[in-house]
Symmetry: C2
């Protein structure tokens, strides 16, 4: 059994707590949280602490806090030579303080508090400084997920940028679709099967093969008619830039 | 039984042909195609024509051709007072010639030749000039789909613009994610669960509620680090514009 302590109580921390709790291989020892009310439903109150001096030594400390707090949190762990990892896609392993052994445990997924996730299919990207620590991380990761990748800090950064494109930006485009529907007294539900199919297509086709639409066909008439339909300047600018990008990509082929 | 003839052999035409063929309520009479080889697997060769004068009168002519060909194709149908519809999201019902009764039969989905679709869940947006014709269209639509909407030409245009945002543009962002992965020797597969979850989230949360990421948090440090990571000017521009849009939307709340 591997003893794990989680520092943090945001979305990633909460989903990890829930996932670990169900696993016999993992003993969740403590949760460090300044807002005990956010985790009280999932761990016993005597396991929740808000003072670093109350931390027990464990096999693995997982720091799941905002990116800019990682360095200072890692500095406040009152031990030496322990395995300490963070869960961030964009922070280098070197941000963790040298007094402990470092690693990264990055679940590549979009977490919302109110939406359950199936951890089994979430890729977990691991990095460690030595083989033994990597093995520990691998055992912990395999207890909750079937998809484990070894990803170094530079690659993880690339992955995080790519994730912003395919998830954060994509969701924002959903929001624009929703706005356009609302303005025209249409239910956003009409678009949902299209959204699902667009996401499903790239499971069997490359995005390049899956591309359709007026920009792909360089259909200037439809593009212009869409641009004169749009009244919101921000939507117009996004429409223009992404259309230009699709057309330029087509020319490269 | 309703007799239907399809004019065209592109993606929409092909998927309609395949869907109608399985339905007892529909008799697919003829397919007009200048490229018989694209449809020969699905209809008998004596049903395929490439001369408008060989068209038989039927209950419903479906013109599934590129937007800018719709008017001229509708003009070449050698009949009067027949029900003639197009399948386009962006073309007004008025583009069809007045000599026949007009309508629109717009399946809101992204069709690729090599990817099968489940027509049952595809919303079909219908428009007609009179009740009887609308009823005919409804019967035909219901034979292949469970989701039928009455959508006028102005609303359909809005829907088509929204569809470009949530499907064509979204797919292009998938392509950028793919490119970033390839440049950094990472498999695009790592991103697929994230892509699926991002599309699934909006089935239960509004896109506004589902938004996550550095722009949503106004996390300037991560945003700047991503921008200095990106070397492709086009990717950089898209990153900047969508990030700015997410931040501005956050301020509006």
């Amino acid at each position: 059994m591997i003893q794990v302590t989680i520092i943090g109580s945001g979305n990633v921390a909460l989903h990890l707590i829930k996932a670990f709790k169900k696993k016999a291989e993992i003993e969740l020892v403590q949760v460090f949280s300044r807002k005990p009310e956010t985790v009280i439903d999932f761990v016993n109150s005597d396991q929740i602490i808000a003072d670093y001096n109350l931390l027990h030594p464990v096999d693995l400390f997982i720091i799941a806090v905002s990116d800019d707090a990682i360095a200072s949190v890692s500095n406040q762990i009152p031990f030496q030579n322990q395995l300490v990892v963070h869960t961030s896609g964009s922070v280098n392993i070197g941000a963790l303080k040298d007094k402990n052994r470092k690693g990264v445990f990055y679940p590549l997924q979009t977490f919302s508090k109110s939406k359950a996730v199936d951890f089994k299919i979430i890729p977990i990207c691991l990095e460690a400084e030595n083989k033994n620590d990597y093995k520990t991380l691998e055992t912990v990761a395999k207890s909750i997920s079937e998809v484990i990748y070894h990803v170094n800090s530079e690659q993880r950064k690339a992955l995080h940028v790519a994730a912003v494109f395919v998830s954060n930006f994509v969701n924002h485009l959903y929001q624009m679709g929703n706005e356009i529907c609302t303005e025209n007294h249409l239910s956003f539900d009409i678009l949902k099967p299209l959204i699902q199919e667009t996401a499903n297509k790239i499971l069997t086709l490359s995005p390049k093969e899956a591309q359709t639409g007026p920009a792909k066909r360089n259909d200037t008439q439809t593009i212009n008619s869409h641009l004169s339909f749009l009244t919101d300047e921000n939507q117009k600018e996004i429409y223009k830039l992404l259309t230009k990008s699709i057309i330029d990509h087509g020319k490269k082929l």
